[in-house]
Symmetry: C2
Subunit: 181 residues, 2 copies
Amino acid sequence: MTSSRGYHHGDLRRALLAAAVEAIDDAGPTALSLRDLARRAGVSHAAPAHHFGDKAGLLTALAAEGFDLLAEALEAADDLLAAGVAYVDFAVRRRAHFEVMFRPELYRADDAELVAARGRSGAALRSGVATLSTADTDRDALAAWSIAHGFATLWLAGALPDRVGADPHEAARAVLRRLFG
Amino acid sequence: MTSSRGYHHGDLRRALLAAAVEAIDDAGPTALSLRDLARRAGVSHAAPAHHFGDKAGLLTALAAEGFDLLAEALEAADDLLAAGVAYVDFAVRRRAHFEVMFRPELYRADDAELVAARGRSGAALRSGVATLSTADTDRDALAAWSIAHGFATLWLAGALPDRVGADPHEAARAVLRRLFG
DNA sequence: GTGGCATCTTGTCAATGGCAAGATAGGATC
DNA sequence: GATCCTATCTTGCCATTGACAAGATGCCAC
């Protein structure tokens, strides 16, 4: 993709975001270093600043990308149970994005692009809950979001006991059924 | 408690933990600085290292304290619904502890004292679920933990829409009832 | 081709975490 | 009461980091 190794990188912005995902997967968002990303991309230590301003700017872009990907995943689900499983699947497979998205102190939560992407995620979630047609959609949406988010978070934190097993989808489905079934 | 302003602080370990709670409440665990804690306690920048080794050591102590406090709060609850509300209440009132507890990359998760405290919390949670006497206690415990943890996490992240209201206890009770009722 | 602008580099500074070596105090031992 | 002795705290140092400023480079429009 960036075969030309000249003065200009070609697609540094994307390369930095990809490197950030890799670095966060390794050591979490806390240990993220802009200079390390620059080294991974083969550019100088100040290059990232041009594309993202500062560290919060880079994480803002990553979070926005994450909310967009989450919205996509939720929209592809057929019913609410599938949406819940898709939520957990997203958290596990896109761990780096997920961990940044729900840590607003790391980025600029009022960024326009991010607000739009977050809105798309929220709409996808609510439209999934609407298929339930119960008395209180707001409360049900909040309960569904809570149980899926809680399971995903506990799974990522490694807080769950071993007996839960190694397959997050299976375990998530069993837990979510306790609420939806 | 530390009226003597001599060479020795008197209770520096506790003072540093208290300062850490304050600092994390302000800006999150990521922005925590050992040197800032030392300044708040009125000691030199290297003093914290003696009590905690390094940053991870301090956060390990804080997380262990948090799991102990959580176990206490859960044990005081009468039924499972009350335990769920107590869980959310703990997350909101002891926000600094809670945020560190479920971010194991920040501390040493294999620390003996921490493992013991975490065990106490887990036991308190399971004993609460046992009162339900349903078919699958493991799955129910996981579902209960997930929904309480998810609601608490989303609340702390400021991710919930405004219509949820300003009182976490009331909103949590409504959501938890959807699973327990 | 030439000027303009986005992109990237080099250089610098303050803050931080962590280590090493030394200073101080308060208590145990005699 | 004197002396050691160990926990506690300090000063000094170094590598790393984020952020900023100023300059170099090359692509693109005209």
